[in-house]
Amino acid sequence: MIEISNLSFRYREGEDLALRNVSLTIPSGQFVGVTGAAGSGKSTLTYAINGIVPHCYPGDFYGAVRIDGHDTAETSLTDLSRLVGSVCQDIDSQMVSSVVEDEMLFGLENFGFPKDEIEGRVTRALADMGISDLRDRAISSLSGGQKQKVAVAAILAMEPAVLVLDEPTAELDPASSKGVFDLLARYARIHGTTVVVVEQKIALLSAYADRILIVKDGGVYLDGAPADVLAHADELRESGINCPRATSLANRLRARGLYAGPVCRNVDDAVAAVEEVIA
């Protein structure tokens, strides 16, 4: 579904490459988490997938990105947006309407969805995000977290084949963040949607993603299943990423020769590891 070949990109106003020789293949339906330190190139990678780079941010673009066979550099942003739904990092800028309902309708109207489908899509997406009660609220009266949910719901309503989300839980509390990831994972499973989500909370990614990419200095530093990536605790720390505490605990036990089991991704895994050590 997503093929990235030898992609390098330098913003016109930048001196260094924002992305360096990135090559990836993301099959259809995979849930991919992307994380890394600030300025590592995570957002630029998402821009390359949804076509914002090079269409909106010009610069030196090398290599190729293909979405379902369409070269992003040669396909118009409008045509790409039929395939890729994007939630940007700056939520305030993403909002184009003053009322939640209008925000939901914007993409559906533009893409010409049949009118008898629109109401169902809006109602379903709002209910999925748990924000049906916000339908008639003014956007300016919403909290940051509510705006993020509205932005995600507005994209989900269009049911794109690929979802690209740049820190969709940045302003959400832990429970709401988990709720958003629950929904994204369930949604992707039901619709066979490919999801690429940039997220700082690696514990969330390790719990939900099929695959984690660690981006460092514009390149993909680590790429693998969550358990495999979390096994590289030292490399993660060097990249400015803290492992989940459950993983750190098991890694310490392992370093002392007390535990030899699999990498712990969550509290349940850690409890099992500690019980094994005590036994």
């Binding site: 940007c88 003053s98 893409f111």
Partner: protein
């Protein structure tokens, strides 16, 4: 009071009217205000404005608007007072005089500006901005691009106001004192317009990108989900507004 041009929900007749009809009625009332020279007609329009405001439960906001517009128009009224020599002489001036006609001209300016500001004010507060722009596209065939510019402008006003207050709070935290007279406040705020402008340009660019990746360029007149048919009440309101407009030529 909600934010600037933020929709006030309700179920009054004004809320239910077609957005284009509301705009047209407002514009006809405004034209009538500028055409008529009669005090009685202006006062009648003002009474009508307040009746509308009371009907859609916007009285406190309308009183606030009246004070603001009256304050602004007082400047114009003063200019008229000193520059329109008319009627019986009350006070001679080196370049003319202040007469009874000058006072009437000044009062007429205040009345006219207040009477014509209220209908548009009410229209914008009892109608969702998207409904106004979508109805203009559907009914008046205004190109969507222009309607979107209008609705985006209104949408971004509270965003930029928040940005400005954020910048001011940051400056206050660094010891800048915004308390004090109007002139001092303006002097301190002028340099802050540069970061606000930078942030506004960046946000506008991001919004344009966000709109484009959601199919903005595919939009046609038929794309709008909502329809805006004219009902009997819209036709009646337009007919009455036309009658008022015609009457303004006669009185």
């Amino acid at each position: 009071m909600k934010g600037f041009l933020e929709y006030v929900p309700g179920d009054s007749l004004l809320h239910k009217m077609n957005p284009v009809a509301k705009l047209a009625v407002s514009l006809l009332i405004i034209f009538a205000c500028f055409i008529t020279q009669s005090f009685v007609a202006l006062i009648a329009i003002l009474v009508l404005d307040y009746a509308f405001a009371a009907h859609c439960k916007m009285m406190p906001q309308t009183v606030g608007l009246t004070k603001a517009v009256a304050g602004f128009s007082a400047i114009l009224a003063l200019i008229a007072l000193f520059t329109v020599p008319a009627g019986a002489v009350l006070a001679p001036l080196p370049w003319g005089y202040i007469g009874t006609g000058s006072i009437l001209a000044a009062v007429r300016i205040v009345l006219r500006l207040v009477a014509c500001a209220i209908p548009l004010f009410l229209t914008f507060y009892v109608t969702k901005i998207n409904d106004i722009s979508n109805a203009l596209v559907k009914v008046c065939h205004v190109p969507y691009r222009y309607a979107f510019v209008f609705s985006s402008t209104v949408h971004f006003i509270p965003v930029f106001m928040n940005d400005m207050s954020g910048i001011m709070e940051a400056q206050t935290a660094r010891g800048v004192e915004f308390d004090g007279g109007f002139a001092k406040k303006v002097r301190l705020m002028v340099p802050l317009c540069v970061p606000l402008l930078v942030s506004s340009v960046r946000k506008t660019n991001s919004a344009a990108i966000a709109a484009e990746v959601r199919g903005f360029n595919l939009r046609t007149r038929a794309s709008g989900y909502k329809e805006y048919p004219f009902a009997g009440r819209d036709v009646c309101a337009l007919a009455l507004a036309c009658a008022l407009f015609a009457a303004s030529f006669l009185v």
